[in-house]
Symmetry: D2
Subunit: 358 residues, 4 copies
């Protein structure tokens, strides 16, 4: 079966978009955008395609540098075009999704689409430098590029210092820096921003086995993904992870109603919420209060009891302190709590479907 | 051998202070302060006793409520006296410690000294309420107390909701909320404050097996400990963990020179730094920059290389977002890096000595 | 002469749009939008009209509540529709304006378009309440409305307490809360947001006699105005000023190139810059660094000399601490410095032209 | 009449301390500390002298650099000793002052005690540089010193650029950067810190004609003053004003009870409150909420009415964004409100007494 691309894309010959049927009877759509199809915002774009919920997507995404950084000899400020950073694959219009609904995106597989990733120090960008916001009088820190070769057998990426000869093989731990839906109120945000609608949250929790739930703000939800990271520390201190093109297999599902105020994540082991704002204590407050709401829903707890319980059991791994908003995760181990299902057990169901796929 | 107590304490009959020799030939000092000996500040107090470095201490500490909260019927604002919160056991004068040195405190054992712990919601205190700093016009949140009974066999503490009948056994995970030395410059801070000198950092990383390194600011270092937690989530959202009296066995050692700017922690698995300031992004920046310094020292890395490596490997568990400063931990798994020893291998040595003790 | 409205607006009978010639030979355009023409974002809208630079505009703007609040009996959370807050009059496409240029908007006259204004306490909105960002567990503060009658003869607005019988006549000091151009990068922001492009800065400095300079981000600049305030304290603590419909007379001019990074303001007495971000120290840093740039341009000062001079002479009146970003003004009295002209003396020229108008 | 100095000071021959009777029958005490008498903290010091309330004091204070900076050739990091910055004159023990009382300090006169002042750029200190808190990886900004000669006839201080030959005479506007009492709870803070007890608030409002009210925390209040500025912009961007030794004439009075939570200031034209914390929005919130309390006291307003009124009339000049806490002033013009007297009309009374003195 062939899904028709939107008219304005039909003549672009790089475009590839196929649906096949797998054993599980899921629709599986392959989508490899060409350069003209990349989008750089959440909101404000025409859909790349329309999909049914329950569809699995095999999506290729370009790296956050738009492939402009390929060598340690590259000078980031020469190579990078600020208009074309963090290209997104999408957005996808999900049939039947309406404001107030919950869009579930389950990450079934993440496979690096290149044999190397790159990280760059970019002038006045990052967490330990003056920025356009923390506006100071310093000269920029030194620019530079680090290239990480993938060792597929060992499942590692290789770090090498630029000065000296220190080398290190670090575990390959693929994740997506950016996943989100269109904002409410007609707003359009750069794909570099994390917000209420998700976006560039840059949390290592966005990895294989995770289901992310987003409140839908516009008809069709209009989600997109991008910013593949081959690995990332919490905080993403210098502003760029081990950035790389990614092949992502995701399953998209829809729950009518119940849209959470902020992105919720679930994997086999944890309940999570991501808050994104400034200053960082506000990101934390957001994620904690939304988790209290979730604990109330899951366990029928009164607010102050949920606040008390949260205090003794929540983990708080920082996601990023470098984007236009800072992101903080509140995370609770399911093993500490009685078993409950969120969204009618959708995560377990998606896990099963994912296994049928890969 | 009997160590003489300070003269003003000699007549207080609860006072107990003994030194014995153990197999390892370490001095082991027992110290159980009476109520008049508690201190409520870092800096500004006479030493409880003078010890040699290398000494092991078995210290009893009162809970952060000063034992004023014992039942769910207690009203925190009635029971708590703000002058007498977070009593500290100490300070101890360490012979030979001088400004610029490094004081190492290794936690060999933490054993609850009571069969129950308590957590309280206190008006205008905590992370999800207006406070005296985030000064707003709201009425206070409802006050209340939660009592957690210890099940010694199961090694759990029991959570029960105040509304409804939800119960939960949570793992007993003892830690010290407060460990620190006297500040520099003649400053004296409430024991509720975390700062450059340590203090009320409220990180779950301050547990058995951890060695904490503090820069010494005054002769004798003048360290104290307190604020035992039977468990705590990251962030300590409501402002109080499962607070409980604690029997702590620690070993104190001294490195001449090398005092770090901010507290460094080490256990068998991780290198860690704790930053404490406001807003929370500044706490994070402090802990990240100090970790870059440590990576430079341990691995001889140039600054930008260390910044790059940190970006891809650091974990960032939040410690507290409720105290007068917020505390954030930067944490790196030793397993990701070549083996190195900090402070001449002191941590491994202390681990060995601890095993001989307990 | 009659300017044609955009086709999609031509049939809306409330629409009024005329150009006349005044003595000064300036074009003067009257524009009173109807309800369907209001826009609620910066960016993302079709132009209401295209104008030549040098044009004077007489613009009517609705109040920030979209006229939904008219009585102290109104319940804000019942009456206000979050989709339709802070309606803007515009955007206007300025012929010849290109990215990198400087758009100058001079405020020649502000006259209340109604005999009363309103302020409202809205749940979880404002500076001294929990918000969706400073997310806490409190119940909302009490809602309410205050109506301020204008006394035209006395040029005052009347404050009356809701409890008790305290009354006060406060000076009428009209200003525009919101003036800005379209953002860069295809972004679209709610008209409630202040940012680099201006927008909802809510500074009392945006009053008659002020020229505001904005960096142009898109062809035509696409500026709009709205959010008339009959008066406002600095900070706009409760989130709403004395909000009222406004008749604004502005003169629009264009400087090729030279677009400032952040909005600059000038009146006869002061040079000003507005920074908008979070936390508030970052808003301040932005406005100070941009003022240092301006001092360098105006006086040829080296950076550190400009920093030193700024330290001793800048005023820093806070603008708002309630919007999605907080805004802080850096303000320098011209009287302290040798006479200089910015943008080739445009402000003085606009003052002259304004006098010929009103 | 001769007041006896504290015993430990009696043999220091620079010490001068005299009481005379003036026409108004006020006691007038002259106090010129010698170098050994300077204190560098709030709290933690023995009193320099004991005074009766109602006493006028003529106090000499050293500049914040402790006179270590005297020439543009000085290198701040060479000359400045961090242990001896911002020396305070005091503390003074006020007879009868008890915790909960209100100490009033009225500034009757400020006269520069030298013919020149100095400002310095100090590495990693100030608002537009990385600091020990906003901890980044930049090299420090260039160090440097600016000397400002006083022109007594013109009542100006002279600014000269270090690069180029730009000169400027700026109005002499003497103020005290630091005024405060001892903190509560046995805490001791560096004299560089502004807090609830006052201290290094660095607001230009602390000038002749101002009465400052502080809540008393310890017996005798133990106030001190220092950090004379010959002038300062709001924010004190580079961290140092035009610093200079100062002759201050102040009148000290005591109100039993009524101690405000944060420093309140009053002059003939304005009611003011200073909040000091981090991030800067918290400083603002503190000053606004305390002003609402004051409006309630002065005018009997209900809280939400006071919040509404504050919103439309408060001015918010920033004080400092460079100290360990940031300080923000909320300021209300008395002319906007019905006449009221705070603290039983003490300010007007002090103004009268001040006139009899100078």
């Amino acid at each position: 079966m062939r899904v028709e691309p939107p008219a304005h894309l039909a003549d672009q010959h790089y475009w590839r978009y196929d649906v096949e049927h797998v054993a599980s009877s899921m629709d599986v759509v392959d989508f490899v955008p060409n350069r003209n199809q990349f989008v750089y915002t959440f909101g404000g774009s025409q859909p790349a395609a329309t999909i049914k919920h329950g569809t699995a997507l095999r999506l290729w995404s370009e790296d956050a540098f738009n492939n402009a950084i390929t060598s340690v000899a590259d000078i980031p400020s020469d190579k990078l075009d600020p208009r074309f950073l963090n290209p997104q694959t999408g957005p996808f219009y999900v049939e039947g999704a309406e404001p107030g609904d919950t869009l579930a995106i389950h990450i079934a597989d993440l496979t690096p689409a290149r044999g190397w990733g790159a990280s760059a120090m970019i002038p006045f960008f990052g967490g330990l430098t003056a920025t356009d916001r923390t506006s100071l009088l310093h000269e920029p820190l030194p620019e530079g590029v680090w290239i990480y070769e993938i060792d597929s057998a060992a499942q590692t990426v290789g770090f090498q210092t630029r000065r000296g000869d220190f080398e290190l093989a670090l575990p390959l731990e693929p994740m997506l820096g950016t996943v989100g839906v269109a904002p409410a109120g007609g707003e359009v945000y750069s794909s570099l921003t994390p917000e209420r609608y998700g976006g560039n949250m840059d949390t290592p929790e966005m990895k294989v086995g995770t289901t992310a739930y987003f409140g839908v703000n516009v008809d069709g939800a209009m989600f997109s993904i991008g910013d593949g990271h081959y690995r990332q520390g919490e905080g993403e201190a210098c502003g760029t992870a081990v950035e790389g093109a990614m092949n992502s297999t995701i399953i998209v599902d829809l729950i009518k109603g119940g849209g959470p105020a902020w992105p919720r994540l679930e994997n086999d082991g944890h309940w999570m919420v991501v808050g994104s704002s400034r200053p960082m204590e506000d990101s934390w407050r957001i994620s904690q209060v939304e988790m209290i709401r979730w604990l109330r829903e899951l366990y029928g707890l009164e607010t102050m009891d949920a606040y008390q319980l949260l205090t003794q059991i929540s983990l708080v791994p920082v996601a990023n302190v470098v984007d236009t908003n800072y992101s903080v995760v509140t995370k609770i181990a399911k093993s500490l709590l009685p078993e409950r299902s969120a969204f009618d057990g959708l995560h377990a169901d998606l896990r099963g479907r994912a296994r049928s796929l890969v």
